[in-house]
């Protein structure tokens, strides 16, 4: 389980309107009754899709899209990794938005799905342009930190630590953390509550 280097994601986009989309909406609680993540993609946005036949995830023209375009504070709420897992298993490889909730961002990073932010204006423009041209190929480049859409190039942002995890292929952190070896036990041994005061 070494992780792959992720420099660039290309593919079609799927725009998702709205701000503060919480993880209960991405994958409602009743679908968390499971012991693996398998098959979660079938339930992504289950309730929203049922209530809104025009929901982007119901529209055939977006099938096969790999870049999700969102608004502000995407993924707030519960820490359930089921949310990014459902999106990833549906086919999402990267997410572009105005801002992300912190635990969601960390969960996406841990499974190799980069989340980058663009300005509010660019996020809006991107959603409009993808809705009008669902066939358009987008390119998210983590080296240059840009999003290419048609003949436009947008500036993208991501905390440097996470960015390097993708560029160095260390986003799956288990092995990186294991490399610390005995330093872990040494740190523990200095904590009074570990040694029993």
């Amino acid at each position: 389980m070494t992780s792959a280097i992720i420099r660039e994601i290309t593919g079609r986009g799927i725009p998702l309107p709205g701000d503060d989309i919480d993880t209960d909406r991405i994958i409602p609680g009743r679908f968390l009754r499971c012991v693996t993540f398998e098959g979660l993609e079938a339930h992504v946005f289950a309730d929203d899709r049922q209530q809104n036949p025009d929901h982007p995830f119901n529209q055939e023209k977006y099938l096969g899209a790999s870049l999700l375009i969102v608004g502000r504070n995407f993924g707030c709420g519960s820490s359930r990794e089921h949310a990014p897992q459902a999106l990833m298993r549906w086919g999402i490889r990267g997410i572009i938005g105005e801002s992300f909730a912190e635990i969601f961002f960390a969960n996406c990073t841990a499974i190799g799905v980069p989340c980058v932010t663009v300005s509010a204006e660019d996020a809006r423009w991107l959603r409009e342009v993808v809705a009008a041209h669902p066939e358009m190929e987008l390119r998210l480049n983590l080296e240059a930190m840009t999003v290419h859409a048609g003949d436009r190039q947008l500036a993208a942002h991501m905390p440097e630590g996470a960015r390097r995890q993708f560029l160095e292929g260390t986003w799956n952190s288990t092995f990186v953390l294991l490399e610390a070896g005995e330093a872990i036990e040494r740190t523990a041994a200095q904590l009074p509550y570990v040694t029993g005061f």
């Binding site: 389980m1 309107p17 709205g18 701000d19 503060d20 919480d22 209960d24 909406r25 409602p28 609680g29 009743r30 968390l32 009754r33 499971c34 012991v35 693996t36 289950a46 309730d47 049922q50 502000r72 504070n73 707030c76 709420g77 519960s78 820490s79 359930r80 990794e81 801002s99 992300f100 909730a101 912190e102 635990i103 960390a106 969960n107 841990a110 440097e160 630590g161 996470a162 390097r164 995890q165 160095e168 260390t170 799956n172 952190s173 288990t174 990186v176 953390l177 294991l178 610390a180 330093a183 872990i184 740190t187 523990a188 200095q190 904590l191 009074p192 509550y193 570990v194 029993g196 005061f197």
Partner: protein
Amino acid sequence: MAETLLDKVWRLHTVRELPSGQTQLFIGLHLIHEVTSPQAFLMLRELGLKVRFPNRTFATIDHIVPTDSQARPFADWLAEQMTVALVKNCQDFGITLFDLGSGRQGIVHVIGPELGLTQPGMTIACGDSHTSTHGAFGALAFGIGTSQVRDVLATQCLAMSKPKLRRIVVEGTLPRGVYAKDVILAIIRRLGVKGGVGYAYEYAGSTIVAMTMEERMTLCNMTIEGGARIGYVNPDRTTFEYLRGRPFAPQGEAFERAVQWWQQIASDPGATYDDEVHFDAATLQPMVTWGITPGQSVGVTEPIPEPEEVPEAERAAYWEALDFMSFRPGQRLIGTPIDVAFIGSCTNSRLSDLRVAAEIVRGRKVARGVRALVVPGSEAVARAAEAEGLHEIFQDAGFEWRKPGCSMCLGMNPDRLRGREICASSSNRNFKGRQGSPTGRTLLMSPAMVAAAAIAGHVVDVREVLR
């Protein structure tokens, strides 16, 4: 140099700086439950790894347990399967499990503190966003996802970036009928649901210092609703006295040495913060949410804002919320009929919450047509409440007295809203579909307000009831 609790605890738990620029942070206490751990154990098995510090992880079962009959096997086969997986994983990897009927089971954020597992100066992680609750003890406690649960199991560490720190100062005496729940709802309303992204919150000021540990837990619990992953209160006498004698707290002389260390962990006077905000307790009133995020709230006597009072950028979300809830701009929530009253969740299911609610329902009856339930946060809470006769007060009034679990906070078990029901709820999230019905509607409020609404059959100002 003067340091904050965040600085000190972060420094003491730093194993090393990672090539990515993040910190490899040692995790002092790891709590797990049945929903977010099975996949982590699966990954561990696939990698052929062991649990590095099995005695620093503790498990319980809370999210999917039924709260009426807890006889096994559960009627819900999926819930049963998750339970079996948790029991097996704990056995195979040598982890202590506080199982149903052990006397120690309960909502993970209720039992950690009550068993004395949660202590000042620790780093605490759990695959659950409300891990921020444990910050009430002066710990750095935060929610993680399943891959990070795997990391903690395998290495007892996480790769983390140190957050900035905002000090939230609340001064003054809370008016009668205004509780810790109202304080945190008011904070979230002012700072916004994403105001805390990138920050940890340090709660300070005379109001916080005067709070009991249970009130501080309610406050820290909903930190994540304000976007901050970590929220804490500096440890003090109240903290130490709460911990004294708890099963997993240091005992005897070790306890006195622990107190010494815990005192040193608190933020130093003169430490600097990235930001500071102030609240005046005297101006707060009981809060109620009217929307679909915990930031969409008003004081109970205030009207829902008019569209022009809402910042342009939030207006779409404002209309979406009103549409979902079937409320109007300018409407007041007092008088809004409710279908369900839920007292429970890791925010407000502790003994003090049940006492406050019981005081309000004593000798009264739940309004006709209202389904009302009390779900204690843990087996210990249930025991203590029953010893005081609280269950009888609730039952006499027409409440159902249930077994401990998360229950209708997220509706993963059979306790769910039906259709478009409106629920007065002491929980923490009013997201669309949160309480188990895709179209169900949640009004977040304090347990006292829920109790008062259950009796009246509609939203009331609890201050009127207390008068």
